[in-house]
Symmetry: C2
Subunit: 193 residues, 2 copies
């Protein structure tokens, strides 16, 4: 049995799947995962055969394939960088919860430096969106955390930290400094007895 | 064994916990759940003893208590209404994934009528937020869904639908019309053999 064959599979969760160069980013993340001793597993969105399916069928196939992939993985690393709002991508949040319920370690990083609280205030100071239910009288979590406490504590309980990086403008979706730190944290968690 | 004692416990997920009158909303949701044959379980944020804990300790106690509550429930109803951005509350998304991984049915409703795609375009047309990783070249999901496909399909696979309501301005966080429809859907799922 080679070391290669026993590398733990790690689900690489994040909104990078929506980038035009998602495959390249996925390949880069898989390389970084391999360097850390893992087999990185990038969501299948771009590799599934969706031909002949209507939109609802496509969404179903992608979602169920991703669930199967998660079940095949020993742990997850989530990109928590804010995406279309104060918080992380909702699909990634779903995936953090999914793996947490399975009792598998979750790590995470964000390329936004500010706390959730600070971002929420900045959001409110910006243009209001008619569809958004947030209003000034609604409480803003103030725990000094980077994300909703359900996310952040799931990571802490996995003996990982939410890695925060301050990255160059325009590289919020592609800078992998924090990702590599999360991999290093997971390596300690999964290798330790 | 009375009918009362056997009512399935339903976890009531949503950002209402941040409202100043969260307890009242929780009580109202529990009443509606009872009318549908369930015991509604509202997250504990406001009922836990957090004295003597620092912020990190408070966040941990709340999060782990909510996880325990979810494990004690037969199903979940999620408020998917957009909260501080295009998408639903990240903590609620985590909880949908958590219950999905446990194989328990999830239902959901939103008080925003537009698709995820339409809201994303509206978001981009508004003021840009410096912390947000979204950029014009990044793909916007276009499956005709109300939320990220991981969320929406988890609900569809539970034999429920994402109930969309168009509610009066200012009642996005409190209108329970969609919530009651979700309860009715869950009642069929949990009662049917």
């Amino acid at each position: 049995m080679s070391a290669h064959a026993t590398r733990p599979r790690i689900y690489l969760a994040g909104p990078e799947v929506f980038l035009p160069n998602a495959r390249e980013i996925g390949a880069e993340k898989r390389r970084a995962a391999a360097e850390a001793g893992f087999e990185g597993v990038f969501p299948l969105d771009n590799a599934l055969d969706l031909s002949g399916l209507d939109k609802a069928g496509q969404a179903r196939r992608i979602s169920l394939a991703n669930e199967d992939l998660m079940r095949s993985c020993a742990a997850l690393v989530a990109n928590l960088t804010p995406f279309r709002g104060v918080s992380m991508d909702a699909g990634t949040a779903f995936e953090v919860g999914f793996m947490r319920a399975l009792g598998r370690p979750v790590a995470g990083y964000t390329n936004a430096r500010d706390d959730y609280r600070e971002r929420s205030h900045a959001f409110r100071a910006g243009t209001a969106h008619h569809f958004d239910a947030d209003r000034p009288h609604i409480e803003i979590e103030d725990f000094g955390l980077a994300e909703n406490l359900m996310i952040e504590i799931a990571i802490a309980e996995s003996d990982c930290t939410v890695v925060r990086s301050h990255v160059a403008a325009g590289t919020e979706m592609t800078d992998l400094t924090g990702f590599r730190q999360s991999l290093a944290e997971l390596a300690k968690v999964l290798v330790a007895p």
